[in-house]
Symmetry: C2
Subunit: 370 residues, 2 copies
């Protein structure tokens, strides 16, 4: 797809994001409200929207800000949360998810966003977009609220694949640092490898091997390797990129999200408990709103699929309009930075040191923020 | 050790807990303050305290409530947080940790508590107390604040061993339910197996095999198997016992603890932000204290080592007096219920269905709360 998004961008004067309108918990109305929020804030964005036209047309027509900026692709089928990835790969051709990915494949859009079934979206993305040369396992990277100056860490993999060997973990480190450079302004990200302790003798043989590999590539790939990190470092200020296998990463993010949700509920109950505490809540409103905004998972909605020929952002299935808008913004920002092309160059360049040079011609040119 | 704690209990009219005074981050003064808090609340508890006598004697003498209830064992060496388990197993004989465990082994105490190095404590516990017949890997179980009626889940393993096969996970389910029955009043605990999704086709081959094994033992061992659970279910109300391998469990608890700590800090900052929010904090004091108490990790301090001939409670290394007291209370409660003996009977009874009967004579008698 290299080059095609740029043509598209030049032609339309804006960046086009392909959006799967179906498959989220809240239905297409919320997705349309989300892209309308994005369009309102960003004059340089346009959309291709995938789903049943008779549902989408009236929703889009109601949003003035979307006038002339949305192309609807009429597709009838929807991937549900219950569908198995293997079924979707065989029978998914008429779905909005498939159509949304094909718009990247055909160079019509610079990135895709879907709120649908994660497993199916990853399977279809691999099928339609294919893995980057040299990538064994693509990964899902998410932003995690943390005490870092930038307010977030990137963690990967959080569930593309339940397994990862040492080479995979090295690639996650390379892809994660590339992602951080293109979504935040950090020239030399700190990389930590998730383990049960920070001492070098801890953990499995795979982790020890990955430790050596990631340490060995730090200078060449321009990141700082902080070594093993623990679960408590994920929301801390130890690393900008947390590398782990998809099983551990998935359990960690869901545990963190669950803990935060329980605490928010308990806080709300505490303020509703008595007359005095209700008054206190009113007085503290501004401070509590600031806290709530800082901790709001919707602000950082969007898992990015790394290691594919194209940028795919998975929005949370239960995202509201603000969440969808955040996912769209992320896809836009990565497209604007030419992230997919830079990542391809980075992986190819690292691969060249350990394997035969498989980098496609011309891909090595990317240097600015790779 | 079966029988000996009862003799001890009968002789002294109270239950004796063996306490390692050394190795915690805050030193022996905090440990002594902790056991004094326990002694104050509980007239049926006595202590054997292990560490350098010249340090411990004045500390104990200063606490009136400890008069006549503490026997000091003078040992010179201390296991530090930096010591490797293998070193401690070879050279740890003169340490307070070793001595604390030997008091269980010799039947002088019904349970042991240490704030020291987790890896060393587990290695020494296995060396001195030995594994229960039929147990392959002992596990560390912790209480986790949750939305359950009882306010806590039990999760295991959280770090005794980084690996676990399907048989190990079944044993964790059996040991965890036994623990829940003896530390909370739940006759038929709900057991969940931690995975990246709740659908039966998800996860590794080991998890699928464990799913079948745990389901197959539910009726006989009198628990309800709720199937696969996700990280978000850990602080929820889906299961009373969460079963996982030590690597995943360790990352999950540290991620949850880290997230909770960051949120508490952010909440404090929010209330210190402005004049109005400071007034609000004063008005909401009672409610916030209630919330803080509910979320206070010190209340549930204590990882229990399961699968050994004896009860060992690992207190957090950074525990304060209240934390130490909570760990002591847990050891006392489990001793009071004859937990170690009941657990042995439970594991032996489950083993009898899949292997040759290795249960020692007479152990099958335990029925009340096994």
């Amino acid at each position: 797809m290299t080059g095609k998004p740029d043509q598209n961008q030049a032609k339309a004067g804006r960046i086009t994001i392909s959006v799967d309108a179906m498959g989220g918990d809240a239905g297409p109305a919320v997705v349309v409200a989300g892209i309308a929020m994005s369009a309102e804030k960003n004059p340089d964005i346009g959309f291709i929207l995938h789903g049943p036209a008779e549902q989408l047309k009236p929703l889009v027509a109601r949003k003035r800000t979307l006038e002339g900026r949305v192309e609807i692709r009429d597709v009838r089928d929807v991937v549900t949360m219950e569908d198995k990835p293997s079924q979707v790969m065989r029978n998914g051709k008429g779905t909005s998810m498939w159509s949304a990915l094909d718009a990247i494949k055909n160079g019509e859009a610079a990135g895709a966003v879907s709120c649908g079934n994660t497993g199916a979206l990853m399977a279809l993305s691999m099928l339609r977009l294919r893995k980057l040369p040299g990538v064994n396992r693509p990964a899902i990277a998410i932003l995690w609220p943390s005490l870092n100056p930038q307010g977030f860490n990137v963690m990967l993999d959080v569930g593309a694949d339940v397994k990862a060997d040492a080479e995979d973990l090295l690639q996650y480190a390379l892809m994660g640092t590339s992602y951080v450079r293109n979504s935040m302004d950090i020239a030399r990200p700190r990389v930590g490898l998730l383990n049960v302790g920070t001492e070098e003798h801890k953990g499995s043989a795979v982790l020890k091997e990955a430790h050596a590999l990631i340490a060995g590539h730090a200078a060449q790939a321009n990141y700082e390797f902080t070594g093993f990190v623990e679960g408590s470092d994920i929301p801390g200020d130890t690393a900008d990129v947390i590398v782990t296998d998809g099983f551990t990463g998935n359990v960690a993010i869901k545990t963190g999200e669950g803990t935060a949700r329980v605490m928010r509920t308990a806080l709300r109950e505490a303020f509703e408990y008595s007359f005095l505490s209700r008054i206190a809540a009113v007085l503290a409103m501004t401070s509590l709103k600031r806290l709530s905004k800082r901790m709001d998972p919707r602000r950082v909605n969007g898992g990015v699929f790394l290691g594919l020929n194209g940028t795919v952002v998975k929005s949370h299935g239960g995202a509201d309009a603000m969440g969808v808008s955040a996912a769209v913004k992320l896809a836009f920002r990565l497209a604007q930075h030419g992230f997919a092309e830079k990542l391809a160059a980075r992986v190819a360049s690292a691969g060249a040191h350990t394997q035969d040079d498989t980098a496609p011609r011309g891909m090595r040119a990317a240097t600015e923020k790779d």
